[in-house]
């Protein structure tokens, strides 16, 4: 059951990325280009997503002790705003700004068959791997 739910949520999420055009790097880059010909569409995407998510979270999730089809809620417990968070956000933001592609749109675009997307994902996995090395060096 959980797997079917995950599959359906994935499809719905993917459709959301396509309908909203988050899956189109040019749309994203023009949203980020506030100094130029700014396209504010993606601000509405986020606002609209939050308008659904926030009330849903407080009305449905907060009132339950466990999810409908699983044993418990797996939510991040960290509250502290620390260095890895800020450094990670700056690094992520630089990458997002270079190409206008973040992980969700990258995966959705896989079925378009463009080699650039495959390359992006391979490098993204490599980057994720390297974060492990950085964390281990620190500790």
């Amino acid at each position: 059951m959980q797997l079917l739910i995950s599959l359906c949520c994935g499809v719905l999420f993917g459709l959301g990325l396509m309908v909203s055009q988050m899956a189109n790097p040019e749309k994203v880059l023009n949203f980020l280009d506030i100094g130029g010909r700014w396209d504010p569409s993606l601000l509405l995407v986020m606002a609209s997503a939050l308008l659904v998510y926030i009330p849903g979270y407080f009305l449905l999730v907060k009132r339950r002790t466990k999810p409908v089809a699983a044993e418990s809620f797996y939510l991040p417990q960290k509250r502290q705003i620390d260095k890895p968070l800020l450094l990670g956000a700056v690094i992520f933001g630089s990458g997002w700004g270079l190409a206008g592609i973040c992980p969700g749109p990258a995966v959705v675009n896989l079925s378009g068959g463009d080699v650039k997307i495959f390359a992006f994902i391979v490098l993204m996995l490599a980057g994720m791997r390297c974060s492990g090395f950085i964390s281990r060096l620190k500790s």
Partner: protein, 138 residues
């Protein structure tokens, strides 16, 4: 140059919010795509398969989409930007524990200060990078 598309933005955004909400209410999971991908390699026994199914759903979406809804025909971003971009997106989302979906929707959606801070930080950085690139290319 892209047009301002308020209606499709609002509709698509609602889909994203609903998908993320359903995944949490039903399965108890956060719809942060970078976290889902990373979890495939790091999560313990049995906790990985829902991740594959979610990602499969993402890949299937373009095949199931009704006709006016399409993927961009080709990715125009040049190779020398795409490769470092992929690496930085992977590294940054892993270090910062989230990406646009995880922090931007699910985290802010729970009114998390961490996620709000991360989102404002990566948006500001991305805007600066776009500004610099367009300045250099002009």
């Amino acid at each position: 140059m892209t047009e301002f598309t308020p209606y499709s933005a609002i509709l698509g955004g609602a889909f994203l919010g609903l998908a993320a909400l359903l995944l949490l209410v039903l399965n108890g999971r956060v719809a942060g795509i970078s976290g889902i991908i990373r979890g495939i390699f790091t999560a313990g026994d049995g906790a990985g398969s829902w991740r594959w199914f979610f990602l499969l759903g993402l890949v299937l979406a373009p095949l199931l989409a009704p006709s006016p809804v399409e993927l961009p025909e080709n990715i125009r971003v040049s190779w020398w930007l795409i490769l470092p971009a992929g690496f930085l997106v992977g590294l940054g989302s892993a270090l910062g524990a989230g990406c646009t979906s995880g922090h931007g929707i699910c985290g802010i959606g729970r009114l998390s200060g961490r996620s709000l801070t991360a989102t404002l930080t990566f948006m500001a950085t991305a805007m600066l990078v776009v500004y610099l690139i367009r300045l250099l290319m002009a």
